[in-house]
């Protein structure tokens, strides 16, 4: 109510001073990872390595953002659980859908002469 009441922040976790630097470091890290990803795709490694690498790097970025920027690390674990329910179900559904469409029996008919698939789901 009053703009002067600055004491007793409800979010006093003892990280206040360091948070600024944590955030900056993470932002830098994210930028670096993105750079690595961009360069990575042009390296002539076997496809599966690059795909795995990209997925891994994206997951790392993802986790950094949700756990630091989005505070999950400092929040009650319930928030993490709540979000991961959605995340895991969404991931599982994506995985299943890509497989269902990848199965031999499910190829569209016009596809018989199509170029090689872009990514093999696992």
């Amino acid at each position: 109510m009053s703009a002067t009441a600055t004491v007793a922040s409800a979010h006093d976790h003892g990280h206040e001073e360091s948070k600024f630097w944590i955030y900056v470091q993470i932002a830098l890290l994210l930028a670096v990872i993105t750079g690595v990803e961009i360069v990575g795709v042009f390296i002539p490694f076997p496809k599966w390595i690059i795909v795995a690498g990209l997925v891994a790097l994206s997951v790392v970025k993802f986790m950094f953002v949700i756990f630091y920027f989005m505070h999950l690390r400092w929040d009650k674990p319930f928030c993490t659980i709540l979000f991961f329910i959605g995340l895991i179900l969404a991931g599982g559904t994506m995985w299943a859908l890509l497989h269902l469409f990848g199965a031999e029996a499910s190829r569209p008919v016009v596809l018989n002469d199509a170029p090689a698939a872009l990514v093999q789901p696992a």
Binding site: G92, F101, A103, S106
Partner: protein, 645 residues
């Protein structure tokens, strides 16, 4: 036992535009505005219930027309187009406008009471959900009054039949936009319930003390929140195809219509559990009350509810066994589907365990609950028959499926919901339905239901396809269809009796006091009808069947309450949220926008969007304001200061 608070002082001296809480008596007409602006979860729940029952009757009339057409072979009551419209609208209405909102009505009305809360976490969001639901219902049905016609693509609207090429009329757009709005409304409501249950529990109400109905509300809300996005995307894609000529399901540019089926059923199967879990929750309240025993195996019932919900996301393709998914996928989905029988069975066993050794009071709600167990079991078994994919190749899209899902939907959901209305009627309105008439309607409904739908198993096995407006006399389907139609008429009479009795009781029924069933959960500790603020004092919960515990530890509880009351009053009294018209305005904007969009007109769509934005903007400016209420010794509000902060 009435724990009330003495009004000692108020630091906000503002005069009170005091309005008493008059929802429940026929004089309750404090004007239309009081309904449009309400943020009270009980009023909102009541409105959900009224709309749901209305649409249940509409859907029922559509069903009767279907049955009349099928009464005899080569019949001409309806034309093909009318018939197709009829089953599309019958299913859409029943599922989205009757059973789901009926669930929402109970969630709204009962759940906050069960956890000892004064309202849901976001009362205005709750109002927005309600009015957006109404907007969706209007758009779905608008086609009846337009030359475009009502939707006729089947309730799962398979592409590419629903594309512009095959159904150029806007009837499908009404369906798309209508469902879209219902999705928004459902998700908003479900988010609200999740936060409410997690965060607004009274002290001592741990998760493992939640009444099972509240647990099922929570799980259902999760299912809604996690499954509706899939249909939202599917509908967006269809809408884009129809409005902007995109290619999601356009074969000539490489679209794959099978994608629609996957996206729909990713939503669709969790949806059927959205329809049944609240019912299971209701039954899990009724059975212990009327057996005078706690629920048998509470943790396992809760856990199996959760696993049904979770497994429900991994079985969607059992609706697609005939789409040629290949052996491995078919086998995987068949096995996963069968697995669901286990947690469901656990529930059945625990309900029987609850009855075992009890003192069963055979009142009307109990009849419906027992009827539920019987009928749902039969429906579940035909579900398991479907899950055996090779057998399903013969059953899919035959009347066997129609039999299956009406057994789970009517014998399951509807029975439980009708029982729930009986059960909570005294709490909601302070009157009790006559047991004689209640049971009479139950038996007529029970008989009519079985006469209608049991023969459909035979019809299906005898090769009668569903969604057929006519059939030939030489197919061996005449007798069963005739019986089925007679059954539907009996069922109709039963439902009519049921509602007649309800309406009568609402006005003239026997008045009853608090807790007429000797129930077990917290909501029964309230006077009926419950006051606007629910709990004069937020209760402290000491055991799973909280009210049962209270009744058996009266002195201790009374002392505790008095203390809490004092503390609460010291904080300025009961805080109540202000009413607000903004959610309603936002929903009106949504309605206008969606009508514009369904006619593919940009300008009205934008205007609607702007109105919605203004509504939400003003709503956000209102802030989470409220006022304070102080109660006298009878629990009547004496003075509500306008406590703005």
């Amino acid at each position: 036992m009435d724990a009330t608070v003495k009004s000692s002082f108020t630091e906000h001296g503002a005069a009170a535009p005091s309005k008493s809480f008059v929802l429940w008596t026929p004089t309750a007409k404090t004007g239309l505005m009081s309904w449009l602006t309400t943020v009270d979860h009980k009023k909102i729940g009541f409105l959900y219930g009224v709309f749901a029952l209305f649409f249940f009757l509409v859907g029922g009339v559509e069903a009767l027309l279907i049955r009349l057409q099928l009464m005899v072979p080569n019949n001409t009551v309806l034309t093909a187009q009318q018939y197709n419209t009829m089953f599309t609208m019958h299913a859409t209405t029943m599922i989205f406008l009757a059973v789901m909102p009926m669930g929402a009505a109970f969630f709204n009305f009962i759940m906050p009471l069960q956890i000892g809360a004064r309202d849901v976490a976001f009362p205005r969001l709750n109002a927005f959900s309600l009015w957006t639901f109404v907007a969706g219902a209007i758009i779905l049905n608008i086609g009846w009054f337009s030359p475009e016609g009502a939707p006729n693509g089947g309730w799962f609207g398979y592409a590419p039949l629903t594309s512009k090429e095959f159904i150029p009329l806007h009837s499908i757009d009404f369906w798309v936009l209508g469902l879209q709005l219902l999705g928004v409304a459902s998700i908003a409501a479900a988010l609200n319930f999740i936060v409410t249950i997690i965060n607004l529990r009274a002290p001592g109400m741990t998760m493992m003390r939640l009444p099972v109905f509240t647990w099922m509300t929570l799980i259902t809300s999760f299912l809604i929140v996690l499954s509706f996005p899939a249909i939202t995307i599917a509908l967006v894609e269809l809408m884009m195809d129809r409005t902007f000529d995109t290619n999601f399901f356009e074969v000539s540019n490489g679209g794959m219509p099978i994608l629609w089926q996957h996206l729909f059923w990713v939503f669709g199967h969790p949806e059927v559990y959205i329809l049944i879990l609240p019912a299971m929750g209701i039954v899990s309240e009724i059975l212990p009350t009327f057996s005078r025993k706690p629920l048998f195996g509470y943790p396992i019932v809760v856990f199996s509810g959760a696993s049904i919900g979770f497994l429900g996301f991994g079985v969607w393709s059992h609706h697609m066994f005939t789409t040629g998914m290949g052996t491995v996928a078919t086998a995987a989905f068949a096995m996963a589907t069968m697995a669901i029988a286990v947690p469901t069975g656990v529930k059945i066993f625990n309900w029987i365990g609850t009855l075992w050794g009890g003192h069963l009071k055979m009142r009307t709600p109990m009849m419906f609950a027992l009827g539920f167990i019987w009928m749902f079991m039969i429906g579940g078994f035909s579900g398991v028959m479907h899950s055996a994919a090779p057998a399903d190749a013969q059953q899919q899209d035959s009347y066997f499926v129609v039999a299956h899902f009406h057994y789970v939907l009517i014998g399951g959901s509807i029975f439980a919901l009708l029982g729930g209305i009986h059960y909570w009627f005294p709490l909601m309105f302070g009157r009790q339905v006559s047991d004689f008439w209640g049971k009479l309607s139950f038996w007529v409904i029970f008989a009519g239901f079985n006469i209608t739908f049991f023969p459909m198993h035979f019809l299906g096995l005898n090769g009668m396809p569903r969604r057929t407006f006519t059939y030939d006399t030489n197919m061996g389907w005449n007798t069963a269809n005739f019986i089925s139609t007679i059954g539907a008429l009996i069922l109709g009479v039963g439902i009519a009796v049921y509602f007649a009795v309800m309406v009568y009781t609402y006005f003239k029924g026997k008045k009853v006091g608090r807790d007429p069933w000797d129930a077990r959960t917290l909501e029964w500790s309230l006077p009926n009808p419950p006051p606007e603020y629910n709990y004069a004092v937020i209760p402290t919960v000491h055991a799973r069947d909280a009210f049962w515990y209270e009744k058996h530890h009266q002195e201790e509880i009374a002392k505790e309450k008095a203390e809490h009351a004092k503390a609460e009053d010291a904080h300025g009294g009961l805080h109540m949220p202000h009413q607000s018209i903004m959610p309603f305005i936002a929903s009106v904007g949504v309605l206008i926008g969606a009508i514009g969009a369904s006619y593919h007109h940009l300008i009205p769509a934008l205007i609607g969007g702007v109105i919605m934005f203004i509504g939400i903007y003003l709503w956000s400016l209102e802030g989470a304001d409220g006022y304070h209420l102080h109660l006298d010794a009878d629990g009547k509000p004496v003075d509500d200061g306008h406590g703005k902060h």
